[in-house]
Every structure is written in structure tokens, then in C-alpha cells.
Amino acid sequence: MKPDNSPVIEVSHLTKHFGEVLAVNDISFNVKEGELFGFLGPNGAGKTTTINILTGLARLDSGMINIGGIDCTRNPKAAQHLIGVVPDESNLYPELTGFENLCFCAALYGIRKNERQTRARELLETFSLTEAADRKFAGYSKGMKRKLTIAAGIIHKPPILFLDEPTTGIDVASARQVRQITANLHRAGTTVFLTTHYIEEAERLCERIAFIVNGSIIKTDTVTNLLQPVQGKHVMLLSVSNGGLKLCEDLNPAFPSYCFENAQGQIRIESAAPVNIAPIVRFLEERGIEVTEARRYLPSLEDVFIQVTGIEAGLMRKEKEKAGGGGNL
């Protein structure tokens, strides 16, 4: 598929309740052909529910969905031949081997025997799983399971791919490989809809990102545009000996051109101009506080996310830790 920037996924005023709980609240967005679009938000934000509705695994309460020019609002199965889905859990058949799983998934899309076997072998090779091809899926490691699940999602060469938290809970090396595969698919022209709660992952991979919190989209823009407000800022982080963190209230009036605040055990200095650290170190030393480390901090999408959504960075970090090593880039 040759990208032409026309939207292949159009969602308008999508709303979904589960009983009393409002899971998705009147969201609208579109994804252009060949784009890698990120859906970024904490757990429970409505990312998976949105994917489930778009792929036909859940019904919408109200709104409109158009995928690949097909109105899926009333018939969610209408566009299923155009999409590939990699769910947030590796859900292949434990009793089948890796090769059998891929062949079976290809058969679900009507691919003939010779073609599906060739394609399965190719994908096993691409995902470095050839040696495990004849082993049962139940015996795969988490990273291998994840890779095979992605392979199963693209076995029918879908022009649109939904990736739901693809690197959650897998080791760093596998996560890197999964990101590389995602980037390659994007380069090959596949439209990718990626949900993640790893901010760095979204920043590195996606062209445009929607921030979703509590079922609502707070902001949608290109990564470049999202980063713009923080890119002109100069930030330093000072690690200080005990007691130093209480000094932010004294530092702010003493150095009015800078903004001081406590940031996870460090003093964060923010300024529109480069930070001159020497007078600050002197100021602290005169009060018996030792500066143990000073480093420049490059503002990232995480700062934008925190600024826009009001969600604490700590919360997202905790989720990362809970999910495992996949977030380490």
C-alpha cells in the first residue's frame, strides 16, 4: 500500500460504557495511511477498549468508525480483512507449535496451504524463531510468545495493524526487537495503530500521538509539535546531601531567573537561558549543603505528557516497573 496521507482510520465521537463506567468518552481522531499513530495513556485509560471497538471485539454505544473507507459503525466485521491485531496478551494456541500457529492464523484469512507455509517460514526467520518453529507455543518464553503473536498478526499482510502494548512484560532485548519490527513494518507502508503506556516508546516510534486519560483524548499532535513547548527549555538536575531539597523556597527568590523545584529527590532547575550552576552551588555550600552531582536534563515527551494530562510521572513509572523490563529502550 502506497501511503497517500488520506485517513484510513476515522473515529468520530466514539463513546463506550461498561455498565456505569464510562470507558471511552466521546473521542475523535483519524490515522493517515502509512502512519504510525500512538495512543498513549496509563492503564485503564481506555486504550484497549478503543482497539477492541475498532477491531470488532466490542460494540460502541455511539459514534462513527470508518476503516479503509468501510463504515464499520454498524457492521464491525466489515473491515476485518484489512486489519491485523496484536492483543495486549499473547493469545495463540498453547497446544500448537509456532509454525502450526502461524499457518492456522493465515488460514483464518483464507490463505492457501502453500502460501501460508511459505509465509510462516519467512516470518519465523524474520522474528528469529526458526529454531523454535516446531516447539509448542506453551513452551515459549514471554519474549518469544510476544514475537510470535506479532507474526500471527501480520501473517496475512494487513495494510492496517493494531498493536496493543506490544512490549509490556517482555525482556529488554525482545522489546528492542519488537520496536525494530514495528518500525520496519511502518517503513514498509503498514499503517500502525500503537497503544502503549511507555512514553519513550511512543516518542521514539510514533509520528503522531494522542494522549488518552480516563477515556478522553486530551491532546493529539505530531511528536515534533508536542515536544515544541519543552524543547526551548534548559533543565539541570542537582543531587544534594540531606536537607538540600528544603531549600527550593530560598533558591527561587535568590535566583529569580530560574525556577527551582523538588523532583524525585533532586533539585530541578528550569530556565529559558542556559543555567549557570556555579553561584547556585556556592549558595548551597554556604548553607552546608553539598552538591554531589549536577547533570543536564533533556526535556522529553514525558514532561509534555505530565504537563498536558496532569498525571504524575511517578504513576507512569510505577506502571513501567510493574509491567517489567519492556520499557527500557
Partner: protein, 245 residues
């Protein structure tokens, strides 16, 4: 063609992954043998009773084979979320569920003929009207499978599927005329017999094997067919309502 590739592969996958496993094959052989043996010992009758017992043993083999396997396998796939793969496939829900149930139907039908093969060594089966037996077994297989599907859609845990299917199956052994005619039941239980689909299948089998039946074959087939369609549509409705939230 695309749809039939999917249909065939779902059927083959289920047969290989679930139905053609050694425990199920041994179940298919041991279960009818155990029932037949139990009746011989209990009644003290000889080989001349084989034909009397055959319709009941065939039915029970189909009933237990289909309901237990389908309810458990679908619940298992639903819990492990592998069933989502099937729901994401570009085939209609009707075709998907027919593919999922075909394996169980085939398994049930094959199970039903295990006692027939055993009986062939023990007695003369030439008097049996096979043109009635074969479609009756097929319809009992279909209706039992759809009953299993109905159970699978109604529960979320495997143990619930087993409990719920027993809730239907064991009363059916006594209420559907498998081993004694429903006319021998107390009057107040007769309505229960007539609302259970297996009653009509067993009536055909008794007629085809022993020449004793209560309703006309046409009516039996008609009601059995209606139960098949009704249970399938009801299950589809429940799947759309409960699984595609």
C-alpha cells in the same frame, strides 16, 4: 473459498488439538462399554438385550461426548483469549460457530458408532433401519453440541461448564427414554421429557432398532431439527450479547 479454508482449518485444528487426544479416544470406547456392562450385570439379561440397550447407549455416547468437550474447549479458548483470534477473522459469526461445533458433532457421531461396532460382534444388526439411525444420530449429535454451545456461552469458568452440562445431561438419561420408555415415567415428569430434544432422537432410534416408537418419525425429525436451529440461534444471540460487549 476463503471462508471455507477458514472453516476447514478451524475444524481440523479442533479435531487435532482436542478431540483426537488419547483420553478422548479411550473415553469414546470405555464409556459405552461401561454402560452396557452395567446394564447386563444389573438386569442379568443376555446378549438378546443388546438391541434394546443399543439406542440408549448410542445416545448417551453422543450426549456426553459432545456436550462435555465443546463446553470445555470453548470456555478454555475464551479464558485464554485465543477465541478472540477467531472473532477477529473475516468470517461470519455463524460460519465460525458452525466450524467450532462441527468437530464436536463429528466426535459425537463417531462415539455413537463405537457401541454399534461392539454390538455387531455380539448380535445380529441386520434388522436395524440404518436410513433412520444415521440421520437420527447426526441430529442428536447436532442438538447435543448446540446444547454444549449454549452452556459454553452461559458460563465463564471451565468448572462452571462442567457443572452446568451435568445439570442437563444426567436428568436426560432418565427423562428422555434412553433405557426405559418415557411412558413409564410419572405423569408429572412427562412434560419435562417432551421439552428435552434428546427424547425425540431416542424415539427415532428405538423405532429404527426395535420398531417401538411413540411419535411419528417425521414429527420426531421435525422437532429435533427445530431444536437444532433454535439452540444455534439462541447461542449466536448470546455470543453477540455476552462476548462482543
Amino acid at each position: 473459498m476463503t471462508r471455507w479454508i477458514a472453516f476447514w482449518n478451524i475444524l481440523v485444528k479442533d479435531m487435532r488439538a482436542y478431540y483426537l487426544k488419547p483420553p478422548n479416544i479411550s473415553w469414546g470406547i470405555i464409556f459405552p462399554l461401561a454402560w452396557t456392562g452395567m446394564f447386563f450385570i444389573r438386569t442379568g439379561s443376555g446378549l438378546e438385550s443388546v438391541l434394546t440397550l443399543l439406542p440408549g447407549v448410542m445416545t448417551i455416547s453422543v450426549l456426553f461426548g459432545t456436550t462435555s468437550m465443546l463446553a470445555v474447549t470453548i470456555t478454555f479458548e475464551k479464558r485464554s483469549r485465543s477465541f478472540e483470534r477467531l472473532l477477529l477473522a473475516p468470517i461470519s459469526l455463524e460460519l465460525l460457530m458452525l466450524a467450532k461445533t462441527s468437530g464436536a458433532i463429528l466426535f459425537g457421531v463417531v462415539n455413537a458408532f463405537v457401541p454399534v461396532v461392539i454390538a455387531a460382534f455380539l448380535t445380529d444388526l441386520s434388522g436395524i433401519t440404518w436410513t433412520l439411525v444415521v440421520p437420527a444420530i447426526l441430529l442428536i449429535g447436532i442438538v447435543s453440541t448446540f446444547l454444549g454451545l449454549f452452556i459454553a456461552v452461559s458460563v465463564s469458568e471451565i468448572f462452571e461448564a462442567q457443572t452446568f452440562s451435568n445439570f442437563f445431561r444426567f436428568p436426560m438419561i432418565f427423562l428422555c427414554g434412553l433405557f426405559f420408555p418415557i411412558t413409564a415415567l410419572p405423569v408429572f415428569l412427562l412434560p419435562l421429557s417432551y421439552i428435552l430434544p434428546v427424547t425425540y432422537g431416542v424415539d427415532i432410534l428405538h423405532g429404527a432398532v426395535n420398531g417401538e416408537h411413540i411419535l411419528s418419525f417425521a414429527l420426531d425429525f421435525l422437532i429435533l431439527g427445530a431444536f437444532c436451529i433454535g439452540l444455534f440461534l439462541l447461542s449466536l444471540r448470546n455470543i453477540k450479547r455476552k462476548w462482543i460487549l
